[in-house]
Symmetry: C2
Subunit: 438 residues, 2 copies
């Protein structure tokens, strides 16, 4: 099966930032065969005229908790919400069915906004994997290991047992990488951080956790260990090329040096970090040291949109302002973070993140017909400074067209919402116990 | 003519933040007759079932340069672009026809994103007024007075003469307030700042200018006058209730005290200020002092979207982060800034900005059917943290429905774009002189 797309403004995001203003792409089955300027040299079983739309690699979301859709717009402006109601409510109210339908909904939202690969960490990841399998998206799915009772384990650290079974069941899936991940530096005992890392090594998966995110986390490590969380992870042998540190808001220059020296990566979640008033991670210091950085939407309750466009715009504004330099991180640099940068942070740069022969055919088309997309001298600027979810017109994952004309091709969004809503009654009832704070 | 809207989630933004979850609004000709909970007590010539959509006052954009549409995506990441290419290119290339079609395009974009009132400052404002008149939006339109040659005046300060004729011609229009405005604190000589203010007094219009925005502006005032721009304006007698200071990024506590004491207002443009890396205005200090603050998109080349949703999201993230407090400025506070707050900053709070009997029927309906709008426990959170332009379904100005199902009812967007594009050839040719920097 060969699909030929012509008359697209192709942003390949290859190492040279090659760009074809009136370009073509040839998809052969699940992979990209060729891309270039002008008319395509081969005909396809299917030919698509992009009519000048922007075509870029599918966007890569390196940090998410997709099953948290039911929490969206709940207690957004509430202080210390993680401990005050997110943890207790999810422990009481999340069920496998709710995780399944919420994951399917959130995956639909990601596809509709041009995200074709996401890394998730939550509970009942078995159900997240089922949703991922059904929806056709690419997922790196981590069962959470945490030192407290959770919705899917009465015993602390139950995620380790659940997780190994989960990995064994799903390993080898063409689009799904099952894994385990500690929740955070301060919510698993050191021994369990190491045991979780060992499982990731055993099964050759990434190792990810929340790190250097919370004020109180920083204080705890300073008080208990006289170390930063980064130095502490290193002392346990947990900084490695497979390590993806989520957030990294509070990092010293020495922390950044350590991360760079050990070849670890960072998942930067500007939307969630700043909505929570936590701070701005020092991304300039990261990229200067060559640390791979990808962008994460975080969960729908923390970041609210599952759209990379929100991250793009916030990233530009925050890092230019933090460094008082409007020329720092050009729009092209930012689009790179959301595509090839994310792929590199996940260790998947030979598979996804750029439009090059042999890469998976994960692609996003962004139309230029809507009012906010004109004029467009610079397509990177349009993507970063004016585009939004609704400008995404078509999406392919592994050559399969999952979004067409801004609508899902394989699933019915209204039906997913209906089923999700049916499963939310008990969740909403239980949320009312927290009504004084949310 | 009476229109009745039922089954809407009505956010009145009245002083008590009254909200009707299954509410109605009755529009009588150009004004709001009544709003409340439950079924409407009167029938209309036209009845609309909102189906649970959010209905709020039309959004108020207190700072814009709408004719700058042709510049969008041009040199976004270029340092000092105002002096390096914006000023010279607009002086060379802007024409009345280009201003007319660009204004019509930008106004269309604002209507489609739920903005029903905007304050503009540019050149050839005669043409902006014609576009405003045709489009049905509400505009406060200022001809710029500046101490240099411009596209509409060979002599410096030509805007004063142009402007008074412009005011005389358009005064009394039901939706248009013509005015004059100095460009900035440092681009008009003090005498001309005062003469412009005197014209605004004579014709009872707002007085607005860029103030405390630029690093070099701050340095110039410090060096030349040993004063801040705010103290300097006050020394000239130019801080008054009619004064609307745009940007106010670099403000001392004393500056804020002065602005508050004199009853002046602030147009806060978080999107443009931060994209340019300039800084974050101290809005907490402003609202604590009772200074009226509205939100501005700034021009389409500075802010890139003409959507208040972009400002909402950036406002939340920046001010929560600057103050390290996620509970500061709730989503409801932020929606207020974009509606009633803007109306108050313009001195129009008895006319627009809230849903109350007797106010103009300027209304926006935001649908909740799209993927990013579910769930929605808190409609303010949905508007601030997840909504985007494309969620706007209907817009009324003075009772006239200008947007329906996300499409303009009175104008053809494609035709406007075609005519604008026809007028952009010379502009684009002249922009190529600056190709080394953009």
């Amino acid at each position: 099966m060969r699909t030929v797309i012509e008359h697209a403004w192709v942003l390949t995001m290859d190492p040279e930032n090659t760009c074809y203003k009136d370009g073509y792409i040839i998809i052969e089955d699940t992979k990209i065969l060729k891309a270039g300027e002008g008319p395509a040299p081969l005909r396809g079983d299917r030919c698509i005229d992009a009519g000048g739309a922007i075509l870029l690699p599918g966007m890569v979301n390196v940090h998410c908790h997709v099953p948290m859709i039911p929490f969206r717009t709940m207690g957004d402006d509430c202080q210390d919400r993680l401990r005050r109601f997110l943890f207790p409510l999810e422990e009481k109210a999340m069920t496998p069915a709710l995780v399944y339908w919420a994951s399917l909904y959130g995956i639909a939202e990601m596809l509709l906004s041009g995200i074709t690969t996401f890394l998730d960490m939550y509970y009942f990841e078995e159900q997240a994997a089922e949703a991922c399998d059904k929806a056709g998206i690419r997922g790196i799915l981590g069962e959470t290991v945490i030192g407290q009772k959770t919705c899917d384990s009465k015993a602390p650290y139950g995620g380790l047992i659940y997780g190994e079974e989960f990995i064994q069941k799903w390993q080898g899936h063409p689009r799904i990488t099952p894994m385990v991940c500690p929740h955070a530096t301060n919510t698993s005992a050191p021994e369990y951080l190491q045991r979780t890392f060992a499982l990731c090594e055993k099964y050759h998966t990434p190792f990810t956790l929340h790190a250097s995110e919370m004020d109180y986390e920083m204080e705890e490590f300073s008080k208990n260990y006289h170390m930063t969380p980064t130095a502490f992870l290193d002392s346990l042998g947990l900084l490695a090329p497979r390590t993806l540190l989520a957030h990294c808001i509070h990092m010293t220059p020495e922390d950044l040096d350590l991360v760079a020296a050990k070849g670890a990566s960072v998942a930067h979640c500007i939307g969630s970090n700043t909505k929570a008033g936590k701070g701005v991670a020092p991304v300039k210091g990261m990229t200067e040291r060559g640390i791979p950085v990808g962008l994460g939407t975080d969960g729908p309750s923390s970041g609210n949109t599952l759209s990379m466009f929100t991250q793009f715009r916030l990233f530009a504004s925050f890092h230019k302002t933090a460094n008082h330099d409007r020329s720092l991180f050009t729009a092209r640099d930012i689009v790179r973070l959301g595509t090839a940068g994310g792929a590199r942070a996940l260790g998947m740069e030979n598979l996804i993140g750029s439009i090059e022969p042999g890469r998976e055919a994960d692609l996003v088309m962004v139309e230029r017909g809507s009012v906010n997309m004109f004029p467009c001298y610079n397509p990177y600027s349009a993507l970063v400074y004016s585009a939004e979810r609704a400008n995404v017109s078509r999406v392919w994952v592994a050559g399969q067209e999952l979004v067409k004309d801004g609508v899902l091709t394989q699933m019915d969004l209204n039906e997913i919402r209906r089923r999700l809503w049916e499963n939310m009654g008990d969740f909403i009832k239980k949320s009312q116990e927290f009504s004084a704070i949310i």
